[in-house]
Symmetry: C2
Subunit: 745 residues, 2 copies
C-alpha cells in the first residue's frame, strides 16, 4: 500500500480498507443490509439537510456502492441511518437505559434518555473505533464525564458490538460481579476509557487524553504519515460544570489549544436538588469563551440531529481551540410525567411511568429488546472497526518501514514495554555522596528516566522550581511546542491529577508524573483516589513533605497525609530517606503501571545513609543497620524519610552505650505488608517489644509496627511557622528524644 | 440618640459619633495632627481628581474641621492623606514587607510591594474597623486570599494600630511563637479574619463572610435601623484564580448576587513558575462576566490611586452583583532588578537588591522604620475605630429598645451564647423507636437545632434530598430571599467548605453545616483541613458513609476516609450508630465551636440499639453491653456506626454460647483519647487481649484498640457496585464472620 501524503489522503486510505473489510469481520453479510447504508452518499450533505429531507431521499442501494460510499460520510466513518432508523436507534438506547435501571431498581435513567441523540450520532456516525479491540491505539476516545448516566454508554457499547456489554450484562446492571457497574469503570468494562462518576473527573481525564494525542501526534506524525490522529469526545453535565476541577482543566485546555477535544455540555437545567435555577445561573458559554474555547449552542438536543451533526463538523473545523457544544436537552426525554424533573435523574422510573413512556415514544417492545433493523444497522461497526484498525496497521507498517527509529519509540509507548536496561539509568549513591534534599535527588531520577523512557513526561502545579521537576533536556509542552515534555499545569492541582489519569490511560507506555507540595494532595485527593481505583500508574512527586519545610507554617505542613494515603487502596505511599531510596522509589513507581505511587520528598538537605538500597525499597521495609545477632536486638528503631537519619544517629548513640539496636526503614508500608510472614518476622521479630518509631507526621497507625508496648514519636497537632530546625526541636523530633524514649521503655 | 431612618442617615450617625470620639480613645491628641486630615473635605471629589491635582489643593485645616469632615470622605470613613503622604505610606508598607522578609530570610515580598497601593486605600481610606477591638461585629472584613503576601496585611495592621502586630512582631516574622506567621492565621493574629495561604481558600471564606452579612442584614435590619451593614474585601492573585475552588465560589456568589463582596484581582502576570503566559492565558474578566459579576479593570495598580478609589466607588454602587476589580500591578514594584519576575515572589530580595530598591524608591530609612508623618496619619484610626464601634453600640442600643426580640436573637448570634435548654430540643430514642438511616435521624436533629439555635444554617452540595439536610421550616437562601437558611451550594463541595469556614468565622453564633456524600470529602479536604486549623466549628454532614450505599459502586464508597480524618488534628470524626448516637454527635458538634466535626451517616436503615446514649458519645467510646464482671470479659467487640449493630448481634450470639462479651461503641476516637487513663482502662482493660473490631472501612489504625493480638474486620480494598447487603456479605462484614474471627482468637 502506498504511503499517503496528507491527513485527507490518510482517511481515504482508511476508506479503501473498508472496501476490503469483508475478508475478516465476523458477520460480513450484515454489510449488505440496506437499512443504514442508503444514506451514505448523503452523509456529507446531511449536515445541511433536515431529517425530513433525508427521509425523503433515503432508498436502498447495492452493497458495493455502500462499501465505497461509507468513506464519504461524516468524517470518514460509518454511514448514518435514515432518520426513522436514527429515531428508532435513539429510542433503543433510551429503553435499554430505562429497562436496565428498572430491573436494577437503581440507577440514573434521565441522562441517557436526554443524551441518546448525541450518543447515537457519536457512536454510530462520528467516532472511529473497533468494537472487537477496545484498545486499538488510534481509536477516538469517548468519556462520559457525567458518569451516573453510564447506561447511555453501556447501551452504545452494546449496540456497537463490544463484547464487554452483552445482553446479559445489561440485565445485570449494578449487580455483583457484572461488567456494568453503577458508574463507568475502565477496569471493569473494556470500551470504557476512564473511571467517572465523581463529577468533573471525566472532563479532566478527557483533557489528558487529548493532550496525549496532541503530544504524540507532534512527536511522531510525518508529513506523509499522520500515524497518531484521533479525537477525544466528552459529555459533561451541569454537575461537572459546577465542579472547580472542570474549570481548571478547561482553562488549561484552552491555553494549550487542544483542538481535537470536543465536549458536549448536556444543558438540561436539572440537578439532583431540582432546577439549576437554584444554584447555577452563570452563563457557561461566556465562561468558556473566557477560557479560550470555541463554543456552539445546539438549542434542540432532543430531536435536532442535524444541528448536532453540524456542530460536530464546526468543532472539527476549529483546530486551534477545544470546542464546547452546549446541547440543550430534556432530562428523561420521553417520560410524560417525569421528564424535565429531578425525579428522573437518579431513580428508576417505576413500572407505571415506564409503561407511559413506552406509550409516549411508541415503543411496543419487551424490555431489553433491540429491534432487528437497529441491530442490523449497528452491526456494520464490527467490520468497519476491524477495517479501521487494519488500515491503521498497514499505515503503521509503512511508518515503520520509513521511520524505523520513531516507530520503535512509538511502539514502546503504545505497548508500554520499557526499554531494556532502563533501571541502570537511575543514579546511584554511596554514603560519601553529598547530602541533598530528596526533592533534588528526585530531579536527578526524573531526568535520568526521561532520557531513557520515551513516554515519560510531566510537570508541576506552578511549583516546578520548588518541586524540582523540570526535565532539563526538554522544553515546555505548549500550543506551539506540543512535542515537548514539561507540562505546566498552573496552580491547578486537582485538574493536574485528573489530566494525568487521562494521560496514563491513553496508552500503557505513557508515564505521567505530577508535582506539588505534599500538603496540597488535599486539593487533588479525589483525582489521586481515581488514579488508584482506575489503575492509572501516575507518579505523584510530592515535596515539602513535613514540618521540615519550615517557615511557611501549618497551612503548608502535612501531618496526617502519610497515614491518609497508607489507608487508600491500590496506591503506594513512598517516603525515601536519601538518594538510594529515592532511586528505589522511582524504580518501584515506574514498574507499578497499574498502581499509582506517591513520593513524599524533603525540602531540606539529608545525608546519604549507610545501609539504604534500592532492593530495600522494593521490600517496603528493611534493616539498614543492626549490631545484634540471632534476630534479637534490644531495641528496634523505625523511621521513614527525613527521620531515618535521626533514627540512625540515635541507634549509633545507643550502641555506644552497649545496646543492640536495629534500625529499620519503613519507606513503603504497602510494599512491606506484601512481603512474606517470614520476611516480616525477620525485620520485626515478635519477641522484641521494645520498639520506637519516629516520623514527622501523625502517630496513628504506627501501633502496627511498634506493637502495644512500643512508642511512636510523631506529630499529632498542626505545625507552626518557624525555621525547620526549631520546629523539629520543639516537637521532639530529635536524637535526644528518641534515646530518652527508648530508654524509658 | 434618635433612631435614623435610612442607611445614609445611619452613616451620618457614625459620622456624628466621630465628632465625640475624642472622649474615649487612647490617644485623642493625634486627632489634631494636621498631616492626614487636610484632604478630608476633598475625599469625595478625590475620585475624580488626579493625584497631582489633589496635591495642589492640599493644605492644613483646623482640627474641628477635620472631625466634622471625616464623615465626608470615601464612604464615610477616615479621611485620605495628601498624595505625597499616600505615596510615603505605600512605601512604608512596601519596606516593612521587604525588611521583615529580609530579616527572616524567608517570605514573599513581591505581592506586598505590588499591592501596597490598594492595601493602603483599603485600610486607610475605605474600611471601617476598630483596631483596638478586632472582633467588633460590624467591621468590614478583609481577606488576603493570596495569603503568601501576608506581610502586606501585617504592615497594614501595624500601621492601623492593632496590638497584634507591634514593631517586635514585624521583626519576628515567621519565627517560633510570633504573631506574624508565614501565612495569615486568624487564631494567631487578631485582625486577621481567616486562615489563608492554600490558594483559593480566602476568596471562598470571603464569599462566606459576605453571605453571613447578607443573611443577617436581611433577617435583622429594619427600615429605620440597618444594624448589620459591612463590606467584605478580598485580594486574590493569579494563583487563586487558577484554583477550581475560586471558580466554584465566584459562580455561587454571582448567583447569590452578593453586592457587598468586592474582590481585587492582583493581576501581576507572574506566578512561581514565571510569566502566567506559560499556563494562564484565559480572559479572567470575561469569565467573571459569565459568572454574573460586575467587573472593572484598573490598568495601573501601581500608582493609579484615583482609579482604585473610583473602582471601589463603582463597585459599591453595584448592589446586586459582587464586583471583581482587576488591578494590574507589578509584582515587586520598586525593585529595580527583580520587579516583574518570579524571583521576587517567594524569596528575600537580598541585601544588595534591598539597597537598590531603597535607592530607587527614595527610601532613606533604617529597616522597619515608620516615618513620623505616616505614623501620625495612621494614628487616627484608633480613635476613629473606637468611634465607629461606639456609634454602632448606640445604634444597637436603639435597636434593642425598639426590637427587643430581634435584638436578643442577633445578640446571641454575635456572642455565640447558645440558648438555654437547646440540648433538650434534640430528639430522644429508645430501642423501640423505628429503625432508620442515620442520615434521616440527622435530619431530625438538624431541624430540631435550627428551631432553637438562631445562627444555625446550612445545606448541601446538590444532595439535599440524599443527605437529608433540608430545614423544613425555612426556605432557600437566594438573591431575593437572603433571610432564609437553606443554602443551595450546587455541586461545589470544595467551595462549600470554604464558604462555611467564612460563615463560621463571621461571628461566634453562626453555626454552619454542610453536606455531601462522605467519599466526596476528598473534593473538599483542603477546606476541611482549614476548618480544623482555623478553629471554625463547621458541622460536616457526610452521608452514604460506606459500602452500605450499594449500587453506586467504588467511586462513591468511602474506605480510607474515617482513618484519614481521625489522623487530622483538631477535628472530630463521629460515626454514630443510631438515633441516640446521632443526637449525641450533634450535641458534641454544636458544643465544639472551635473544632469542626464530621458526622459519617448511613444511607441504609439501622436499628435503635440498646445501650447507646448521648453521654456515651460525649466520651467518644463506651460500653453498650457487657455480661462480664470485674472488668474482665472474655472478649471485647468494638465497632462504629452501621457495624455496631453487627457487633451487638455477634455479642448476643456469643453470650448464648456462654461467653462473656463486651460490646464497645467507638463513635469518636478523638473524644475517647481525651478521656482519663482510668476511663480508657475501664473500657479496654489491658488484661483482655481477645478483641475484634468491625468497621466498614480501612482496618489501619485499629491496632490501637485491638492490640497486637486482636483482629480487625474491615475493608482494605475498593468497594463494588452491587446491592449493599450483597457487598457486606462478600466483604465479610457479617455477624457470622465476627463470631468466627472471635472464636479463632
Amino acid at each position: 500500500m502506498a504511503a499517503s501524503t496528507s491527513l485527507t489522503a490518510a482517511q481515504a486510505l482508511i476508506g479503501r480498507a473498508v472496501a476490503v473489510a469483508g475478508q475478516s469481520p465476523a458477520h460480513p453479510d450484515r454489510l449488505a443490509l440496506p437499512t443504514g447504508f442508503g444514506l451514505s452518499a448523503l452523509a456529507g450533505r446531511a449536515l445541511k439537510t433536515s431529517a425530513r429531507q433525508q427521509q425523503r431521499v433515503a432508498r436502498p442501494r447495492r452493497a458495493p456502492m455502500v462499501r465505497a460510499a461509507a468513506v464519504e460520510t461524516l468524517e470518514g466513518t460509518a454511514a448514518a441511518a435514515p432518520p426513522a432508523l436514527v429515531e428508532k436507534s435513539v429510542n433503543t438506547i433510551r429503553f435499554l437505559a430505562i429497562d436496565a435501571v428498572e430491573k436494577a431498581n437503581s440507577g440514573h435513567p434521565g441522562l441517557p434518555m436526554g443524551c441518546a441523540p448525541m450518543g447515537h450520532i457519536l457512536y454510530d456516525e462520528v467516532m472511529r473505533y473497533n468494537p472487537k479491540n477496545p484498545y486499538w491505539f488510534n481509536r477516538d476516545r469517548f468519556v462520559l464525564s457525567a458518569g451516573h448516566g453510564c447506561m447511555l454508554q453501556y447501551a452504545l457499547l452494546h449496540l456497537a458490538g463490544y463484547d464487554s456489554v452483552k445482553d446479559e450484562d445489561l440485565k445485570s446492571f449494578r449487580q455483583w460481579g457484572s461488567s456494568t457497574p453503577g458508574h463507568p469503570e475502565n477496569f471493569e468494562t473494556p470500551g470504557v476509557e476512564v473511571t467517572t462518576g465523581p463529577l468533573g473527573q471525566g472532563i479532566a481525564n478527557a483533557v489528558g487524553l487529548a493532550l496525549a494525542e496532541r503530544h504524540l501526534a507532534a512527536r511522531f506524525n510525518k508529513p506523509d504519515n499522520e500515524i497518531v490522529d484521533h479525537y477525544t469526545y466528552v459529555i459533561l453535565g451541569d454537575g461537572c460544570q459546577m465542579e472547580g476541577i472542570s474549570n481548571e482543566v478547561c482553562s488549561i485546555a484552552g491555553h494549550w489549544g487542544l483542538g481535537k477535544l470536543i465536549a458536549f455540555y448536556d444543558d438540561n437545567h436539572i440537578s439532583i436538588d431540582g432546577d439549576t435555577e437554584i444554584a447555577f445561573t452563570e452563563d457557561v458559554s461566556t465562561r468558556f469563551e473566557g477560557l479560550g474555547w470555541h463554543t456552539i449552542w445546539v438549542k434542540n438536543g432532543n430531536t435536532g440531529y442535524d444541528d448536532i451533526r453540524a456542530a460536530i463538523k464546526e468543532a472539527k473545523a476549529v483546530t486551534d481551540k477545544p470546542t464546547l457544544i452546549k446541547v440543550t436537552t430534556t432530562i428523561g426525554y420521553g417520560s410524560p410525567n417525569k421528564a424535565n424533573s429531578y425525579s428522573v435523574h437518579g431513580s428508576a422510573l417505576g413500572a407505571k411511568e415506564v409503561d407511559a413512556t413506552r406509550q409516549n415514544l411508541g415503543w411496543p417492545y419487551e424490555p431489553f429488546h433491540v429491534p432487528e433493523d437497529v441491530k442490523s444497522h449497528w452491526s456494520r461497526h464490527i467490520p468497519h472497526g476491524a477495517a479501521l484498525e487494519e488500515a491503521w496497521n498497514a499505515k503503521f507498517a509503512e511508518y515503520e518501514r520509513k521511520y524505523a527509529e520513531e516507530a520503535a519509540e512509538l511502539k514502546s509507548i503504545i505497548t508500554g514495554e520499557l526499554p531494556a536496561g532502563w533501571v541502570e539509568a537511575l543514579p546511584k549513591y554511596t554514603p560519601e555522596s553529598p547530602a541533598d534534599a530528596t526533592r533534588n535527588l528526585s530531579q536527578q531520577c526524573l531526568n535520568a528516566l526521561a532520557k531513557v523512557i520515551p513516554g515519560f513526561l510531566g510537570g508541576s502545579a506552578d511549583l516546578a522550581s520548588s518541586n524540582m521537576t523540570l526535565l532539563k533536556m526538554f522544553g515546555d509542552f505548549q500550543k506551539a511546542t506540543p512535542e515537548e515534555r514539561n507540562l505546566r499545569f498552573g496552580v491547578r492541582e486537582h485538574g493536574m491529577g485528573g489530566i494525568c489519569n487521562g494521560i496514563a490511560l491513553h496508552c500503557p507506555g505513557l508515564i505521567p508524573y505530577c508535582a506539588t507540595f505534599f500538603v496540597f494532595t488535599d486539593y487533588m485527593r479525589a483525582a489521586i483516589r481515581i488514579s488508584a481505583l482506575c489503575e492509572a500508574g501516575v507518579i505523584y512527586v510530592m515535596t515539602h513533605d513535613s514540618i521540615g519545610l519550615g517557615e511557611d507554617g501549618p497551612t503548608h505542613q502535612p501531618i496526617e497525609h502519610l497515614i491518609s494515603f497508607r489507608a487508600m487502596p491500590n496506591i503506594l505511599m513512598l517516603r525515601p530517606a536519601d538518594g538510594n531510596e529515592t532511586a528505589g522509589a522511582y524504580k518501584v513507581a515506574v514498574l507499578n503501571r497499574k498502581r499509582p505511587s506517591i513520593l513524599a520528598l524533603s525540602r531540606q538537605k539529608l545525608p546519604q545513609l549507610a545501609g539504604t538500597s534500592v532492593e530495600g525499597v522494593e521490600k517496603g521495609g528493611y534493616i539498614i543497620s543492626d549490631n545484634s545477632s540471632g534476630n534479637k536486638p534490644d531495641l528496634i528503631l523505625s523511621a521513614t524519610g527525613s527521620e531515618l537519619e535521626i533514627a540512625a544517629k540515635a541507634g549509633d548513640e545507643l550502641r555506644k552505650e552497649g545496646k543492640t539496636v536495629r534500625v529499620v526503614s519503613l519507606v513503603s508500608w504497602e510494599l512491606f505488608e506484601e512481603q512474606s510472614a517470614d520476611y516480616k518476622e525477620s525485620v520485626f521479630p515478635s519477641a522484641v517489644t521494645a520498639r520506637v518509631s519516629i516520623e514527622a507526621g501523625s502517630t496513628l497507625g504506627w501501633e502496627k509496627y511498634n506493637g502495644s508496648k512500643g512508642k511512636a514519636i510523631g506529630i499529632d497537632r498542626f505545625g507552626a511557622s518557624a525555621p525547620a530546625g526549631r520546629i523539629y526541636k520543639e516537637f521532639g523530633l530529635t536524637v535526644e528524644n528518641v534515646i530518652a524514649t527508648a530508654k524509658a521503655l
